[in-house]
């Protein structure tokens, strides 16, 4: 059922959509088109000549051990960040949703990091974990751990994950708390009267009812881990040591902007695009399902 339009005007609607359309065209479709085009070209290092190479850029990527490493890293990294950031946020949200004093203060205490940029968060944590002067960095050394994330790949990845999770908890907390608050209290009380333990109530009643929120957050967190952690990586490790923290989106930047390997970078962009389309498709499918249930 489509509502009747209110206004009849031949040119005005075009004028209204024009600003957004122009910006979209110039800064979205043109560059995305260029990326597609460049992904099948090979350009010499001076950018003077380029020739059509078909899918060679893609083939090269999939036989490049560095790229395959980056793919594996990105998936592990995204999985861990998503799991930890959502798990912790859920724990805090469940606790903050209990009938206790000071819930509003607790809410503020978990929401404020939403304002902190991922890169700024990284700077804060560098100060803590810097091997020579950082409080925790020195502490780790005191208890016998050879802490130096500039040289140790595992430690570098752990630190990037820590900062990315810390930054994302507030976002998840906001959604989980809203989701929990929309669950009718009477349902939970009824189960409690029936003698169900609080653990059972959570897993059998609360968690299933939260599933729309959880699923939405899953997509958003994967998206965050894939793309928005760029600032964290750039501030903490610049992809190092020895490419240990070079995720897919950081590699696009390194290869395209720093090494000027444009064909390869464009091919990587196209692959990332496929990832995003997949994530978005999942999200849309989920949105449709949600309409069904509502």
């Amino acid at each position: 059922m489509k509502p009747q339009p209110v206004f009849r005007n031949k040119y005005l609607p075009y004028l209204l959509v024009l600003p957004q359309l122009v910006i979209t065209g110039i800064f979205f479709f043109w560059p995305a088109g260029v990326a597609l085009y460049q992904s099948v070209l090979r350009t010499d290092p001076f950018g003077l000549r380029s020739k059509f190479v078909g899918l060679a850029n893609f083939m090269r990527l999939f036989s490049d051990p560095y790229y395959l490493h980056s793919v594996k890293l990105s998936f592990w990294f995204s999985f861990l960040v998503t799991f930890l950031a959502m798990g912790l946020a859920l724990l805090f949200a469940v606790m903050a949703n209990k009938r206790i004093r000071g819930t509003r203060i607790y809410r503020t205490l978990f929401v404020w990091p939403y304002a902190v940029a991922p890169a700024t968060a990284a700077v804060l944590w560098v100060f803590l974990f810097q091997p020579q002067i950082g409080l925790l960095g020195r502490g780790l050394k005191l208890i016998g751990i050879n802490w130096n994330y500039y040289l140790n790949a595992t430690q570098a990845i752990a630190l990037v994950i820590l900062v990315s999770v810390w930054k994302q908890i507030s976002y998840n907390f906001i959604f989980f708390l809203a989701g929990l608050q929309s669950i009718p209290q009477s349902l939970i009380e009824a189960a409690a009267v029936d003698g169900a333990s609080s653990r059972r109530i959570f897993w059998r009643i609360v968690f299933p009812l939260l599933s729309p929120t959880t699923f939405f957050l899953l997509i958003m967190n994967l998206n965050y881990a894939f793309f928005e952690t760029f600032g964290v990586i750039d501030a903490l490790t610049k992809g190092g040591p020895a490419k240990a923290t070079e995720t897919l989106s950081y590699k696009v930047y390194v290869d395209g902007m720093l090494n000027l390997n444009i064909g390869s970078s464009a091919a990587q962009s196209v692959i990332l695009l496929a990832v995003v389309i997949l994530l978005t498709a999942f999200q849309f499918k989920y949105v449709e399902r949600r309409v069904h249930y509502a």
Binding site: V6, L21, T24, L91, I100, T108, A122, L124, F127, S269
Partner: protein, 284 residues
């Protein structure tokens, strides 16, 4: 027995929440402490857990000069001004562009309407990382490097904003606009005097979300600013870390971090209600 269990439940909730809140706050507290000591104390790894006497000195130095003994930078106030300009322009620009588009899509019927709408919606799927080099090329061809226009314009397309406002506009009763039309109000007047005031809560929520979004941008400003005077604060503070971390004036970096976080954190805390409402009601 039941009461005891209840008591324990509450106690453990407080415990978990306090612990969590402490972990969230800890790095910020340490940043304050770091901003209140001198370079030598921190550099020798002797910084205590309590604040020192130099907080104001360091904040003023960062604000006015930005450079220390080892790092050369721009005064933080310039970078903060850049961030403020970018955040406000992005938020306002996005809202205006999204509102106009949503208005056209909801209240008019015109050829290619759906085509226009979907071509804007599809930008949801195209984060910058996906088209990074060509975007840079476009901006440089248009001579937008190191300019506010270049910093803000590409960030102004908002599929989410358009979606949110389309939803909000649709929920406005038709009678309101029909009545205004009978009274002789044209489409633009209806937009300005009826539609926009009605969706004011949505606009406030969008503004908070987009302001933070603009303030926290990293990759695009990194590409487009080479002139230190055009840097936003988030870029500037990471550049202060430099190449070798042995050569960092930590007290200045931490003073800068404190200054960088103050405004957005205050915005989020004081507009928390709008933020939560905006996020949870629109993004889903």
């Amino acid at each position: 027995m039941l009461k005891l269990r209840d008591l324990w439940g509450r106690f453990s909730a407080h415990l978990v929440l306090l612990l969590g809140a402490a972990i969230m706050l800890f790095p910020v507290y340490i940043a304050f402490v770091g901003a209140s000591w001198d370079s030598a104390t921190i550099g020798r790894g002797l910084m205590p857990l309590s604040p020192g006497p130099y907080l104001v000195t360091n904040l003023l130095r960062a604000w006015n000069v930005g450079s220390g003994e080892k790092i050369v930078s721009v005064p933080v106030r310039i970078m903060l001004a850049n961030s403020l300009i970018v955040a406000i322009c992005v938020a306002v620009g996005k809202i205006v562009a999204a509102a106009l588009t949503a208005y056209a899509v909801v209240y008019f019927r015109f050829p290619f309407q759906n085509f226009f709408f979907w071509s804007i919606l599809i930008t949801l799927m195209l984060p910058l990382e996906v088209r990074i080099f060509p975007s840079y090329k476009v901006a440089s061809d248009l001579r937008l490097l190191n300019s506010y226009l270049g910093l803000t314009l590409p960030l102004m397309v908002s599929a989410t904003g358009t979606l949110v406002l389309r939803g909000a506009f649709r929920s406005i009763p038709r009678e309101l606009l029909d009545a205004a039309q009978v009274d002789g109000a044209g489409p633009l007047r209806c937009f300005w005097q009826i539609v926009l005031p009605v969706v004011r809560p949505n606009l406030a929520a969008l503004f908070v979300i987009l302001f933070i979004y603009g303030w926290n941008q990293y990759l695009w400003p990194l590409l487009i600013t080479t002139d230190p005077k055009m840097q936003t604060i988030v870029i500037g503070i990471v550049r202060m870390l430099g190449i070798s971390e042995a050569l960092v004036d930590w007290e200045l970096v931490m003073a800068t971090a404190v200054l960088a976080m103050t405004l957005p954190v205050l915005v989020v805390i004081f507009m928390q209600r709008w933020l939560i409402k905006g996020l949870t009601e629109t993004e889903k």
